[in-house]
């Protein structure tokens, strides 16, 4: 559902409270690119953004551009809005995705009937007025 379809009575979707660690992630999404931190010490990619590697605690990292391709690890279909901002959004799916580069991320999927275990999905980018959201869609066969 596009943001313009939200009734005027609904509050706008929350805007990410970006910080120093996460700013490059949100900036990349704005350009429709997916970039995550990759640890210089152990080379593992991490999400969400944080100042230290959650695997080896090293601080040094670079921002690596990812393919956006992955497979569904788990998913839910949200039928009840827990915040008024999402009253016009339900139902929607939330999927956790294991990306090819070995990192698990979470995003929405618009089609609530398509999520399935191990389904191949690819990143899509939804522009909101102040930020861009990472969503997933089923990969074309």
């Amino acid at each position: 559902m596009s943001p313009s379809a939200i009734p005027s009575t609904a509050p706008p979707l929350p805007v990410p409270e970006r910080d120093r660690d996460s700013a490059p992630f949100w900036d990349a999404l704005r350009e429709h690119r997916l970039r995550l931190q990759s640890c210089d010490a152990c080379e593992r990619v991490r999400f969400p953004a944080m100042s230290r590697c959650p695997y080896c605690v090293a601080p040094e990292h670079r921002w690596r551009e990812l393919s956006g391709r992955g497979r569904i690890y788990s998913w839910i279909v949200v039928r009840q809005a827990f915040r008024p901002e999402f009253a016009a959004e339900v139902p929607y799916a939330l999927v956790t995705v294991d990306l090819e580069e070995g990192v698990r991320v979470v995003g929405r999927m618009d089609d609530v009937d398509s999520p399935a275990f191990d389904l191949a999905v690819v990143a899509a980018y939804v522009d909101h007025p102040e930020w861009t959201e990472l969503r997933f869609e089923e990969m074309a066969a």
Binding site: P16, I76, F82
Partner: protein
């Protein structure tokens, strides 16, 4: 000899009624439950010298404030613990440690909340470092986080939604026998399937029912408990575990084994300290904010095999008359959400023979757990021998 195991006991338990709108202050609820626990034990409230409580989103009242309104003017041990469902057994353990180490003699542990008419935890956006990435997606509330775990559990074990349903149905059978429970009408498989989806795979009966109310227990030494009014529920063991904690309690993207929550990580030390095993348990009061959490907790504690909690419930083992009566008050699912403190009070009442229409036939050993996913606690209670 273990410095903790078997040295303290819960001497009494008390609760308020559970409502959807108490019309009272949280402190008033806390006071009623605390006085009920003292009265059950036969202890003058002025003899209380320690108070421990837990809260979330600042929804409770300070331990010291409770002391003030029950006439316990001199306290030598207090704690206000800002965590949620992980806390109840851990707070009992803290009170027990204070008593065992001589910091206090009679410690009240309470949870009080206007959880329905005031702060509704299940609808609050949890706080913490990972929320920046979840809120804008509409991944905001704890039931959604729990449902994500539940789906993964289904993928890995082959369990179906009806396995979660079997858990809700079994616990409702206990609630039918519990006048305090807020959901007492029988639940059938058809009724479960027809109920409103919340965050699939979870429907409404998979989720706890938020209420206003309070629960409290009195912890003292085994020796003092023997001189009080009721059978002591001896605290034979306690354990806490945090595993895979990330930025906040809803951040579990990097969790390494979705079939094993905190309870699988504390079971070893818990049973070892007690000198008992899951096979010794007569009845279990196990944290169940969601059916999926109950499954992980039962399996993690070793009460049933991994992936089988739904089958175990469907076969009647956890129901009235079953071999392992579980959540004999109806659980948080059906009695109501006093954040796991009512899970403790029920365990105590059953051991003291105060279970009424739902009294279990054998009540020598009980396990009580608190928590759902990344962290939690548990205690083992045994009848004084």
């Amino acid at each position: 000899m273990d410095p903790f195991a078997g040295r303290t006991a819960i001497a009494g338990a008390g609760m308020t009624e559970l409502t959807r709108r108490s019309g009272r202050s949280v402190l008033s609820l806390a006071r009623e439950a605390a006085l009920a626990a003292c009265s059950a034990a036969g202890l003058e409230p002025t003899a209380v010298d320690g108070v421990v409580q837990y809260s979330m989103y600042d929804d409770s009242v300070q331990a010291e404030a409770l002391g003030a309104v029950i006439g316990a003017r001199d306290l030598s041990y207090v704690m206000d613990f800002a965590q949620g469902g992980q806390s109840a057994a851990h707070m009992v353990a803290h009170a027990a440690m204070a008593v065992a180490c001589g910091f206090a003699k009679n410690v009240l542990v309470f949870r009080a909340m206007n959880g329905r008419s005031g702060v509704r935890i299940g609808q609050r956006a949890a706080v913490g470092g990972g929320t920046e990435f979840r809120y804008p997606l509409g991944f905001v509330a704890y039931p959604q986080v729990a449902a994500m775990w539940a789906r993964r559990y289904m993928i890995e074990t082959g369990a179906t939604e009806l396995d979660f349903g079997a858990i809700a149905i079994a616990q409702r059978r206990w609630a039918e026998r519990n006048p305090r429970a807020v959901l007492r009408e029988p639940l059938t498989e058809e009724g479960y399937l027809a109920s409103r989806p919340v965050a699939e795979p979870f429907r409404l009966p998979d989720c706890t029912t938020e209420v206003d109310g309070a629960a409290a227990v009195l912890v003292t030494s085994v020796e003092r408990a023997r001189d009080l009014a009721l059978t002591p529920a001896v605290i034979s063991s306690a354990a806490w575990a945090t595993h895979g904690f990330d930025l906040d309690m809803g951040s579990s993207l990097r969790y390494d084994d979705y079939l094993r929550n905190f309870s699988g990580h504390l079971a070893g030390p818990l049973w070892k300290r007690a000198g008992l095993g899951p096979e010794d348990v007569d009845y279990a009061e196990v944290y169940d904010c969601f059916t999926g959490a109950l499954a992980l907790n039962m399996e993690g504690l070793g009460l049933c095999a991994p992936g089988t909690a739904g089958t175990f419930a469907r076969e009647g083992h956890t129901s009235p008359g079953g071999k392992l009566p579980t959540n004999t008050h109806g659980g948080l699912l059906a009695e109501g959400y006093v954040h796991g403190m009512n899970t403790v009070t029920e365990a105590v009442w059953q051991m003291q023979g105060l279970g009424g229409e739902r009294q279990v036939p054998k009540n020598d050993v009980a396990v009580v757990s608190s928590g759902a996913y990344l962290s939690g606690s548990a205690i083992v209670l045994t009848k004084d021998r």
